[in-house]
């Protein structure tokens, strides 16, 4: 057994790997010595080593390609063009938004918007039946513009009873007064019946010779008063108007300026408590929605046009003790109006007692 054995033969791949690693200084000492002894013994291996060494030398001497003129400037300009916008601005403050991050954020916002749009709850009714019994929760609806026409809307259920021309008042003269509508009206209104598309069963001009004083009307804000507290309507027409919640809601009477004719006027269905621009006295201010008339106000015989606000002092039983006109309004005040306002009483008594005073707005067309 020889103490200096012949180097074991290499296959070409192994030899190339050893030569390559040797040229790069990657061979450990033991393998480097083995390779040297092989190269001394094998001329072909030596030639391979020399060829690869020349190749590596040529590669290392290969000049670097010259970068084009102003390459870094163009690169910087390109980056500025591609990163312009909010992200680049925020970057100046140390905030970073990768494109993927921005995408996730945008997707999240879109998802939230879509889900909130799809999952929006159905519109809440203006008032529930239970709420309808509570006067304070019923909000007034806007009053449509008057056009001088008489449009009478009746419900299907009331069609047979009230569709006759008798709905137009022909009764003898009676004071225009503020009457209380049945409390049931408010319940039905709250059910939304009145807010649905009305069924038009009659539409006619009222006879101009009908006297305004011949009918009473139910104003919009008096529905809270108990039915028993309302005085009996002086005419059949008024009776119908008060009895039928739709008439009570949608019909009012007005006196045409400069004439004695009375028009039975119906507007579009309105929410409970809606205000009309016909002759009326209405509660305004903080007490609105909590106080209502329990005794009708006589507004007949008062010359208009006039519009004014009054502060009415109340006693413990809801009676008006003093009347003070507030600043503003239009037209000249009818002489008998303060006295008429003193005839008013308000309900409920507890609320009137607590309020001490109430503001009302009077309008005479």
């Amino acid at each position: 057994m020889s103490a200096n054995p012949q180097p074991r033969p290499f296959v070409t791949g192994d030899l190339d790997l050893l030569i390559s690693r040797s040229l790069d200084g990657d061979l450990p000492g033991e393998e480097e010595r083995e390779l040297k002894s092989l190269l001394q013994a094998d001329s072909a291996a030596r030639a391979r080593y020399d060829a690869m060494a020349r190749l590596v030398g040529r590669l290392e001497e290969l000049p670097d390609p010259e970068p084009p003129f102003a390459l870094s400037t163009r690169v910087r300009t390109q980056i500025d063009d591609d990163t312009r916008g909010l992200a680049a601005s925020l970057h100046r403050f140390g905030f970073y938004f990768r494109p993927a991050t921005v995408g996730v954020v945008v997707f999240g916002i879109v998802a939230v918007v879509i889900s909130s749009t799809i999952m929006v709850p159905p519109p809440k009714p203006v008032a529930t039946v239970a709420e309808a019994t509570d006067q304070s929760k019923v909000q007034p609806a806007p009053v449509p513009e008057e056009d001088g026409r008489v449009n009478v809307f009746f419900a299907e259920s009331a069609k047979k009873a009230d569709a006759s021309p008798a709905a137009v008042p022909a009764a003898p003269a009676a004071p225009v007064r503020i009457a209380a509508a049945p409390a049931q009206n408010r319940i039905d209104e709250a059910k939304g019946k009145m807010r649905q598309e009305p069924v038009l069963v009659a539409s006619a001009e009222s006879p101009r010779e009908k006297k305004e004083e011949s009918v009473a009307f139910a104003p919009e804000r008096d529905a809270q008063a108990p039915t028993a507290a309302a005085p009996a309507p002086p005419s059949a027409v008024t009776s119908r108007a008060v009895a039928d919640e739709r008439v009570a809601e949608g019909v009012s009477l007005q006196k045409a300026a400069g004439s004695d004719t009375t028009r039975l006027r119906a507007s579009a269905p309105q929410a409970a408590g809606a205000l009309r621009s016909a002759a009326s006295a209405q509660v305004v201010g903080k007490a609105e929605g909590t106080l209502s008339f329990s005794t009708p106000a006589r507004l007949d015989g008062l010359a208009g046009p006039f519009e004014g606000s009054y502060r009415l002092g109340l006693d413990g039983s809801g009676r008006v003790t003093d009347v003070a006109r507030l600043v503003g309004g239009s037209g000249s005040e009818p002489s008998g109006l303060p006295a008429r306002l003193k005839e008013l009483t308000f309900a409920p008594v507890e609320a009137a007692r607590a309020a001490g005073s109430v503001d009302v707005k009077v309008r005479l067309p």
């Binding site: 290392e60 390459l71 403050f93």
Partner: protein, 199 residues
């Protein structure tokens, strides 16, 4: 009294990888200008050797754009040069794939019209050489570059990174994301293939 003259390059000296990255991450955008100025030549050289000088500028643009967007993910485990080389190599591969598909559609896949064109700077005269020697040198360089371009992709990248860019085996392993044994093997086989190509 002579006051020092303030030069245009004052404050623009290369501060080193770590400081340049820290300044950029702190919101100093001029630090990225320094990075571009310092590394654009190197990236261009690498890209030229991988895809040719006529496509290299595109690779450089894409490389630095990616670097801008992803520099906050640079953790300093490797040098900034190695990190940029990794991006450049991937962009070069993508660019080469796109070019190969285009050539396949519009021309013969075996013909690369750029192979026969001298590279910019290759024809610079060597004052110590005769015109004949200069012509031979230019031809030899062109042949060598053509041989490099004809190498299989994995061998070409390994040989270029080692013999032309001078990266260590460890850095090449990081750039190529392969074990170091694979790097040794690819370099050796790439050199052997080049010898065969040039013989």
């Amino acid at each position: 009294m002579i006051m020092p003259v303030r030069t245009l390059h004052e404050g623009r000296e290369w501060p080193g990888d770590e400081k340049a990255v820290a300044r950029f991450l702190g919101g100093d955008l001029t630090a990225f200008d320094l990075i571009v100025r310092h590394y654009s030549g190197m990236i261009f050289a690498l890209a030229s050797r991988l895809v040719g000088p006529w496509e290299a500028e595109e690779v450089v643009q894409e490389t630095f754009l990616r670097a801008w967007r992803g520099l906050e993910s640079f953790r300093g485990d490797a040098s900034l040069k190695t990190w940029l080389y990794t991006i450049a190599l991937n962009r070069a591969k993508a660019r080469q794939g796109t070019l190969a598909r285009m050539r396949k559609v519009f021309t013969s896949p075996r013909v690369n019209p750029e192979d026969d064109q001298p590279w910019p700077g290759d024809e610079a005269p060597d004052p110590a050489a005769s015109p004949e020697e200069q012509a031979v040198a230019v031809e030899q360089r062109a042949n060598l570059r053509k041989a490099i371009r004809n190498l299989p992709e994995e061998f070409r990248a390994a040989v270029v990174l080692r013999d032309l860019e001078g990266l260590s085996y460890d850095d090449i392993a990081r750039v190529l994301s392969v074990p170091i044994g694979t790097v040794r093997s690819r370099i050796a086989r790439g050199r052997a293939a080049l010898l065969e190509e040039l013989s």
